[in-house]
Amino acid sequence: MIEIVAATKSYGAAKALCGVDLTIGAGEAFGLLGPNGAGKSTLVRLLATLSRPDGGHLRVGGHDTVRAASRVKRLLGVVFQENNLDRDLSARQNLLFHAGLYGLGRAADRVAAMIGRLGLSGAADRPVGQLSGGQRRRLVIGRALLPEPRVLLLDEPTTGLDPAVRRELWDLIRHIRDGGCTIVLTTHYVEEAEALCGRIGIIRQGRMAALGTPDELVARFGGPRLEDVVVRLGAGGGA
């Protein structure tokens, strides 16, 4: 479903990605771990068609993210690291706007159903600026789900949230995964990647330092736990 070949991206002199290769199958949930500045968000922006790679290419559902960007957009739901919501508008208005952008039929019904599914019924008509961090995060995820994307990109979906809210979001993400949606998720929480993702990539300084299932990674790089592998590879050891 996702094919990344030798993708590079620089911002001025800073090399954010230096040749990433990655293939993710349909229905797979893939976790991307790595230290701050490793290039996770850059990779998400490239897949989302928001940035162009300097070299290499990326395909989503067989479509090139540069040449067939509008086809890629139709397959994608994207949750960026920041909660990019209209804070003066309500949760419902934010969702209705999104439904409009995607030309969804029966928008009011769909939005109402999504609000219920997200557990935001009590807060749906308050300005988003007044919602809690957990409610806003649920809202951006729900918004991405509204057009029923085949591929969901989640950039640090649970950073800064309390453990209870994080569990709720995990349940939501599991539910999406079990519905057959392909998921790419970046995170700093090793247990999150273990809980949600079948395969994990560890990225460091714009390069894929390791790739495999949690068990494979522990076996290959020596544990005892996956977290030890991530710390070691993130710091530049291993491989």
């Binding site: 068609t49 928001l50 940035s51 990019n84 003066d88 508008l89 409009g100 952008l101 030309g103």
Partner: protein, 249 residues
Amino acid sequence: MSLLDGAGPIFRREMLLFRIKLARPTFVLSTMVTPLFYMVVFGLGLGRQVRMADGSYLSFLVPGLMGMAAMHNAFAWVASGINIARFYHRTWQVVMLAPLSPVAVTAGTVAAGMVRGLVAALLVGVAGAVAGWRPSPTLVLPATLLLETALFAAFGMVVGIKTKGAEESSTYTNFLITPMGFFCGTFFPLSNLPPWLAAPMHLLPLTHANIALRESGLSLLALTSLAVLALFTVLLCGWACHAVAGYRE
């Protein structure tokens, strides 16, 4: 997918945000304060000494101030709106990720900027009417304001999309938009300028807005200036579409 799918939702969202702004008492005041200062200082203060060929100075000044308010507000609402949406709220990215044609994004955004500019011009017109100005009953004035707000909203889109932040955007306001307000015939007829300065001013859209705004009927002069404004509108909307299509981070 039709070319305009998505323009409606973009426009309606902007109107929701605009309505919230309108409800705040500071909005009307801050939109009005500069034109009111000009009207008092130039119109009532200096204006008593100024003799115009036809009519009072106030009847010359008010249409100019309406044109200036229309330009400023259409441009600034769109340019700073996009800047804030790109760098602060990051909601611009939501629009860019939706499968929309650049034409739809441009149409919805420009239409919203037009509303903002027209409301500002209307407020100035009402203040002018209170001070004694009477508009001539033709459609030239609203037609001019429609084209003027469209072209400056489109230019605001280009600036909002192409600049690297609010500071760079304000450079365009300080070095292009505001000077146009002073040199394009808002406060005095271009014929008062030396010819070497007046001639290049005819390349700027606000000059033609000012000419048309003061015509009382569909004269040849008014038609020519409206045609120039229409040309600017088409070119700038095309440029805005191009900027949307090429938007990348």
